[in-house]
């Protein structure tokens, strides 16, 4: 297996004719964890949604490849089957479809007919992953995200991440709305995946999560692109000093792009 790679170059994305991303670029390889940080309204979630293929976002310029394949040439489901995963900030609720049925369908979607995950193996994996995420047994029989609390939805996203084992995962503010215990559990789940076969982009505006998942690279987004990159020490400095020093250093007055 070749090492996972996501490469994004000069990405421009609009929503309803308003440009949000203005020349974003990054390279994420297997074994690397990148943190994308930045104040609200700088385009972080737009980046996540656009890469996955959210219907509301329009890519107007730039390119993205996953394992060398053109990402924007693929439908949403093809991107997923090629190994991309997005843990969403606001996952949809789907009534009448149980969590277990959904996750099993998703696991089988990437497999050839006749090579489906056996029920026994599926149950074993679910039990194991739910155990490590401290998720209640009843979770799998509940309808997908329906009536889930914010924290439950986030854990469910991570459960899917662990079950599907993608090459590249984008975690969109997976830490928001989580208390410290839940945060530790979620971090533990993500740390389990750490390997040369897995690359990850963590979008957050708090440094908190990074205490538990140590990033290899930290990038700061403003005005729809990366304005500063560094190592874990950059996150620490942001935690202590906020973002103003970067704005000053770069002469940025308004870091936002209007909407997130």
């Amino acid at each position: 297996m070749t090492k996972p790679n996501l490469t994004v170059k000069d990405l421009h994305v609009s929503i309803e004719d308003k440009e949000i991303l203005k020349g974003f670029g990054i390279e994420v390889n297997g074994g690397e964890i990148h943190a994308i940080m930045g104040p609200n309204g700088t385009g972080k979630s737009t980046l996540a949604s656009a890469l996955m293929g959210h219907p509301k976002y329009e890519v107007t310029k730039g390119e993205a490849t996953l394992g060398g394949e053109d990402l924007f040439d693929m439908e949403v489901d093809e991107r997923a089957r090629a190994g991309l995963f997005l843990a969403m900030q606001y996952p949809s609720e789907v009534s009448g479809v149980t969590n277990a049925d959904f996750i099993r369908s998703a696991m089988n979607a990437g497999r050839e007919e006749g090579d489906e995950v056996s029920l026994m193996k599926f149950i074993r994996q679910m039990d194991e992953k739910m155990g490590s995420l401290e998720i209640d047994e009843s979770f799998q029989h509940r309808y997908l995200n329906e009536g889930f609390s914010g924290g439950e939805k986030k854990r469910n996203e991570i459960l899917q991440l662990l079950m599907l084992q993608p090459q590249i995962a984008i975690l969109d503010e997976i830490d928001s709305g989580l208390d410290i215990d839940a945060l530790k559990v979620v971090a533990k789940g993500i740390n389990e995946l750490r390997s040369e076969d897995f690359g990850c982009m963590i979008i957050t505006h708090y440094q908190r999560l990074l205490n538990y998942i140590k990033p290899d690279f930290v990038h700061v987004m403003m005005q729809g692109r990366i304005v500063k990159s560094g190592g874990p020490e950059l996150a620490q400095k942001l935690e202590e000093q906020g973002y103003d020093w970067i704005k000053e250093e770069l002469g940025i007055e308004d870091e936002t792009v209007g909407q997130e």
């Binding site: 996955m52 293929g53 959210h54 219907p55 439908e75 949403v76 489901d77 991107r79 997923a80 089957r81 995963f85 997005l86 969403m88 996952p91 949809s92 789907v94 009534s95 009448g96 479809v97 049925d101 959904f102 369908s105 998703a106 979607a109 990437g110 309808y143 997908l144 899917q160 599907l164």
Partner: protein, 435 residues
Amino acid sequence: MTTEITFPVNQQDITSFSKDRNEPKWFADLRLSSLEKALNLELPKPDKSRINKWNFTSFDFDAKTAGGEDFSKLSDSVKSLIGEEDNIQNLIAQKNGVTTFKALHDDLKNKGVIFTDMKTALTDHEDLVKKYFMKDAVSLDENRLTALHAALVNGGTFLYVPKNVEVELPLQAVYSHEGSFGLFNHVLIVAEENSSVTYVENYLSEGSNSEAVANIVSEVYVADGASVRYGAVDNLSETVTTYVNRRGQVTGRDASLYWALGQMNDGNTVSENTTYLVGEGSYADTKTVSIGRGKQSQNFTTNVIHYGKNSDGQILKHGVMKDSATSIFNGVSKIEHGATKANGEQTERVLMLSEKARGDANPILLIDEDDVTAGHAASVGKIDPIQMFYLMSRGLSKREAERLIIHGFLAPVVSALPIESVKEQLYDVIERKVY
């Protein structure tokens, strides 16, 4: 405006048909007078649907089916609905109205339960049939189609459950249709005091498709303290135009009637389902699921009419429209003057999967009494693109994602159906219709 209408069957045909079946004279007379009425009556007028161009009168009246009781001769599609021969306890199978298999457990026979085809019932249980046939639930002169039905009845079942008899296992009837045959199927169920029974029916098409008509009337009578569960899976092909009128007369005190209807025809369909809650404390529960596809047009009207004090009527209808299918979902809870403390609740929900699909939900409460409770909810909506994005972002194809959403949309009704076998059959039919 009057338009000349003609039927493919005349008085002589009916007389000889009735004679061949050894029917009693009153029934032969009823057929002839009904034919006369059919010429002068109008088509039914289902609210918000125009059906006057639909074919209700062009069909073939020759069943082209040999009767018999040979299980091995039943088709595979029928067998798939009824299971292994050794496990069959209570079953009537008919093809184009002709009985092809019949079974009733001795235990039920000994208790006085009658479960037989209409043809046999008219000779062996004449008085009972005469007492109920198209009297109070559906009257033969309501419209052209009910009159035509009475004139041409050529299939169906009679089920009679005596006082205090509780039938545990469901009684099943499978009605298959083939060719251009006009099926006039009549189901008559009588549940006497404190009895209980579950009846499940399947309508299916077999063989090659031709223009044809299914004209179906079911009448259910529920006496004091009795309980009837009526399940149906309608699955006729796209070339069959269907008029189906299922009605319940819940005349008994504390009597209850549960309808579980899977309305899965592929052809144009007018479906009326009406329950009269006459008895004090009587109860009706109607659950229906439908999937429309292709170019079919359908009208599903559910009425619950309250006369009895403390009567309670529940309606829950979910429908999915694909392709360029059109469906009207009418729900009517009517509470008559004097039905104090009655409660009527209804919900209609429609999900449209394509730009060309059309669905319309009309919840109607008609209340002529002050001291009642009632409520309704309705929604008509398109599939949510964000939901699709979410499911597809986990690798599910568009088709698979739609499949899950449809199952999910219908699940609250299907999973609540009171009859296990209907649930299972519906899952299968839904699965086939979703693709």
